[in-house]
């Protein structure tokens, strides 16, 4: 510990920092660090500390660097912090860089072996764990050693920053679903490192965790699981998918919650089909939606690209289906394991020819759940595909939330006629046609296959048709169809989730965003308020845009559109839909692959505002 002598004397006098710092765990992908990191974040959650865990991982199975950042915030902020005060440097390949990114006064927990190869700084604390030596003392069978080695940093972190070691055992036990043997095997390592650290390391940093009451009644979950649970409560019947990061765990979530919808004799009401590609996944859900089931796929950008032909067909033929786009960074294969909001325009305009797709953009776990069920009601009410645009950050990371509200509306199947209703319709209107709009809202009445009425059948097609669903190449029929589809989209504007607006102040500055930037913006606005800069805020939750977006723009002298993509796509859409008097609308667009930070927003907004 000689190398720490100088540092100790510098840092000992610092005020303690409790429950308000972030740490980053740097390991190699595939080294089993996922369990260790989950144990850490869950333990903090159970200590009552508002916490958030974000996994920054490579597109790789084994070997490439991966970072897991955990932010504890006594004030309940859960956005990613730009700076992490502590790093667990367990990857020799990145250790030098990891250490250099620490702020002065930061902490590096590393192995004795790695410590020899990193450039030492004299303004941070180093704690070296003799991992190889500790592992030699364990009774762990050699086959498992590599898998549990990471538990050494769990033990060291627990000792250094005050996480109760018995709590960690409970969390391990839950992690292994109550199986004592693996929990015990892991915990032995934790205890070994915990005890060694207590005896051998002199703490020289001010960071500490402390029990508090910040998570009582809260849940922790990933957005993909929340959306999947929502779909289960929304009555999903057919799920078709093709594996793709970062959406795969969405379908894993549906599988894990499917039992909630099983009958007493374990029969399923949800079919889950792993298709041969995204084209087939889209075809399966369009076929299922057409036949009267509630269907869903989950994918990300490259999959959405492949699904565009079916998306256009479903839009034109008016078939309900739900598509989740857990957005990752594009274009092309891009950064498959990094987050992005870069598919907004593409998804909204998906399909060739004229037309818009309905999009819902959840900003947090509760909305992922809510849109999970509501998307089916919207798709069936509007007889059109619905795209839920989430992202990797929400989808794959652990978020803190209040428990979800049970759906406050009954299931809405939309305008579907059974045999009796079809007869009544014919009695009233003289005829029924699949695309006959008798209500004037752009939404016609449909029948589904299996309806026992001689006039129930109709022919669905992607080619020109008239309101009776008969093939037509006539210009007037085509224009009538397109006009009605546009009318339907206008009807949709009022039916979709409306923006969340905080315009209680007389601020000149308005902030507009969508999706997961919400947490970072909330924190940045608090910082701005502390600086005397007032802001109002509107978060768009659906496309086509609600009318209130225009009112918000008109009501502010300066409007910043904050979005995590490179081109400022929401800004472009606003300019398209609200073309007049918008010189005061400016994008603050990032798109660097990482979840947005409050400091980026704070600094850039201040700079732009002058």
């Amino acid at each position: 510990m000689a190398i720490n002598a100088q540092t100790q004397s510098k840092t000992l006098t610092r005020e303690p920092v409790i429950n308000d710092f972030a740490f980053s765990v740097a390991t190699k992908n595939g080294s089993g660090s996922q369990t260790s990191n989950n144990v850490l974040v869950t333990s903090l959650f159970r200590m009552g500390i508002p916490v958030n865990g974000k996994n920054l991982f490579p597109s790789n199975i084994k070997g490439l660097p991966t970072w897991y950042t955990i932010r504890a915030s006594k004030d309940g902020y859960t956005a990613r912090k730009a700076i992490t005060e502590i790093v667990v440097a367990y990857n020799d390949g990145t250790a030098t860089e990891d250490v250099s990114s620490l702020p002065p006064g930061g902490v590096c927990v590393t192995t004795d072996k790695i410590a020899r190869v990193i450039n030492q700084r004299d303004d941070i604390s180093y704690y070296e764990i003799p991992v190889a030596k500790l592992m030699r003392q364990t009774k762990v069978p050699s086959a498992f050693r590599k898998l549990v080695e990471n538990m050494t940093y769990v033990g060291a972190v627990a000792q250094l920053f005050d996480i109760p070691v018995d709590l960690i055992y409970q969390v391990l036990l839950d992690n292994f679903k109550g199986r004592e043997k693996p929990a015990r095997m892991n915990h032995d390592i934790v205890e070994l490192a915990y005890d060694w650290t207590a005896e051998n390391i002199v703490k020289t940093d001010p960071y500490r965790f402390e029990h508090m009451d910040g998570t009582h009644g809260k849940i922790m979950m990933t957005g993909n699981d929340a959306g999947a649970l929502g779909a289960i409560f929304g009555g999903v019947n057919v799920v078709a998918w093709y594996p793709i990061t970062p959406s795969t765990s969405f379908v894993d979530g549906v599988m894990s919650f499917r039992h909630l919808r099983q009958t007493e004799d374990k029969q399923n009401t949800v079919a889950i089909v792993q298709a041969e590609d995204e084209l087939a996944a889209a075809g399966i859900i369009v076929g299922a939606g057409w036949a009267g089931a509630r269907s869903l796929t989950s994918t990300s950008g490259p999959g959405i690209s492949l699904m565009s032909e079916f998306a256009g067909l479903a839009y034109f033929a008016e078939v309900p289906a739900v598509f989740w786009n857990i957005t990752r960074m594009g274009p092309s294969t891009g950064l498959p394991t990094r987050t992005s909001q870069g598919d907004l325009l593409f998804t909204h305009f998906l399909g060739h020819g004229d037309g818009r797709q309905i999009c819902l953009m959840p900003g947090n776990l509760k909305e992922a759940f809510e849109f999970g069920w509501k998307s089916f009601d919207i798709a069936e009410a509007l007889q059109t595909p619905v795209f839920v645009i989430s992202d990797l950050d929400l989808g794959m990371n652990n978020w803190l939330s209040d428990p979800f509200d049970y759906p406050d509306q009954p299931i809405n199947r939309g305008k579907v006629l059974d045999a009796d209703e079809l007869q009544s319709f014919i009695d009233e209107h003289g005829k029924w046609g699949r695309y006959l709009d008798v209500d004037g809202d752009g939404i016609a009445y449909r029948t589904v296959p299996g309806t026992d009425h001689r006039f129930a059948g109709y022919f669905t097609r992607g080619t020109g048709r008239d309101e009776m669903a008969t093939y037509s190449e006539r210009s007037d029929d085509w224009v009538a169809t397109m006009s009605r589809l546009r009318l339907k989209m206008d009807t949709a504007r009022g039916m979709l989730p409306q923006p969340i607006v905080d315009d209680g102040s007389d601020a000149d500055i308005g902030i507009i965003t969508f999706g997961t930037n919400d947490e970072a913006i909330r924190e940045a606005r608090d910082w701005l308020t502390n600086d005397g800069i007032k802001t109002n805020y509107l978060r768009v939750r659906a496309l086509p845009l609600a009318a209130s977006v225009s009112d918000f723009i008109d009501a502010h002298k300066s409007v910043f559109v904050i979005e995590n993509n490179f081109d400022g796509q929401l800004t472009q859409l606003i300019r398209l839909e609200h073309p007049e008097n918008i010189s005061h609308v400016r994008p603050l667009a990032l798109g660097d692959g990482l979840p947005m930070t409050p400091s980026w927003i704070y600094e850039n907004l201040k700079e732009q505002e002058g």
């Binding site: 809260k218 076929g287 022919f459």
Partner: protein, 348 residues
């Protein structure tokens, strides 16, 4: 005289669709006619049938039969996925699907193979004419190697045999026929529609406009002169009211009769011609197909049959009620169920 009716009291006309817009004489129209006859003869209820197709001349035909059924003219090469979804949504439905050699053999090859692999129970008809009609005469992947067409010259690539692909993919009912052989098409359709697995019917169906020269193996003259049925086919279906034909062995010796028992208890009776083909033997099925291709023999009939393995819906262990007909209770778990999940995600 009132028209003849089936056991539902429906005349054959009731099973028709809209008038065809295909070229007069198109082989596809003969197949549509046989589908109409099949549904009429078996007394099928149209509301329990869906008609699905891809894109192309053949895929237009579902508009021309069973006007009382729901139809879906989907995307090029993607009919199998739409069928998969629709039949998962409602397992009470039967499906007659129509594709072409371009739709299946080129753009849709992947979906063709995978729908068979999943064993979605439906009749998969390929109306195979070796040529792209709507885009005016390009070779398809089933065109003969060495064939010459006016605008596109000589085809230098080997033909894909869709029956062989189906057998290899794991299809449990594979047949080849000729649209000019109405009787055989009818018998195969009647067998296929009651087979609870993917039934592949590759029907050579001449394109009278772009590929009907005598030199083409997909032409009427060639088919009429060269078709060699492997057997005569008769369907013995006790469960269908209208299958009243007298069940006779006729001029055949007992040893020349092969009764293939189907899943529903009916039989496909095959009267052997001058060969030893047994469609229950996978090796023989592949041999027949390979020899036919090598020696340019136009063998037709039931190529391969096996007792179907579980369907996709079976392996999904779905409830008996079609998913599309579940009520609100079957679609949404209780508030207590949600609270239980929430509780499990909380501290302590």
């Amino acid at each position: 005289m009132p028209p003849r009716t089936n056991h539902l009291g429906l005349a054959r006309n009731e099973y028709k669709g809209r008038p065809s817009t295909l070229c007069p004489g198109c082989g596809h129209d003969s197949i549509s006619n046989q589908i109409i006859s099949m549904a009429y003869e078996l007394g099928l209820e149209q509301h329990k049938i869906i008609k699905v197709s891809g894109i192309g001349c053949s895929s237009k035909t579902p508009a021309y039969f069973l006007g009382g059924s729901h139809g879906f003219n989907a995307l090029h090469g993607r009919m199998p996925s739409v069928v998969t979804g629709a039949l998962l949504a409602n397992t009470d439905l039967s499906c007659i699907a129509v594709s072409g050699d371009g739709d299946t053999g080129s753009i849709g090859m992947g979906q063709f193979k995978h729908v068979i692999r999943r064993n979605v129970p439906f009749v998969y008809i390929i109306e195979n004419n070796g040529v792209y009609g709507l885009t005016k005469g390009q070779f398809s992947a089933t065109a003969d190697e060495g064939q010459f067409l006016k605008y596109y010259g000589t085809n230098h690539m080997p033909a894909i045999d869709l029956c062989l692909e189906a057998v290899i993919a794991g299809a449990t009912f594979v047949a080849r026929s000729f649209s000019g052989d109405a009787k055989q098409v009818q018998a195969l359709l009647q067998a296929a529609v009651r087979h609870p697995g993917t039934s592949v019917l590759d029907i050579i169906s001449p394109c009278v406009t772009f590929n009907n020269a005598e030199t083409s193996t997909k032409s009427y003259p060639y088919g009429r002169d060269h078709e060699i049925p492997l057997h005569e086919i008769q369907i013995l279906a006790p469960d269908y009211v209208d299958a009243k034909e007298e069940i006779t062995i006729g001029d055949y010796d007992e040893g020349d009769i092969l009764d293939v028992e189907m899943h529903d208890g009916s039989y496909i009776r095959l009267k052997k011609l001058d060969n030893d083909h047994d469609p229950r033997n996978r090796r023989l099925a592949m041999d027949v197909l390979e020899r036919s291709m090598r020696e340019q023999i136009f063998s037709t009939g039931l190529i391969y049959y096996e007792e179907p393995r579980p369907t996709l819906a079976d392996t999904e262990e779905l409830v008996e009620t079609p998913l599309a007909r579940l009520n609100a209770e079957g679609l949404r778990p209780s508030q207590a169920a949600l609270e239980g999940v929430m509780q499990s995600l909380m501290v302590g």
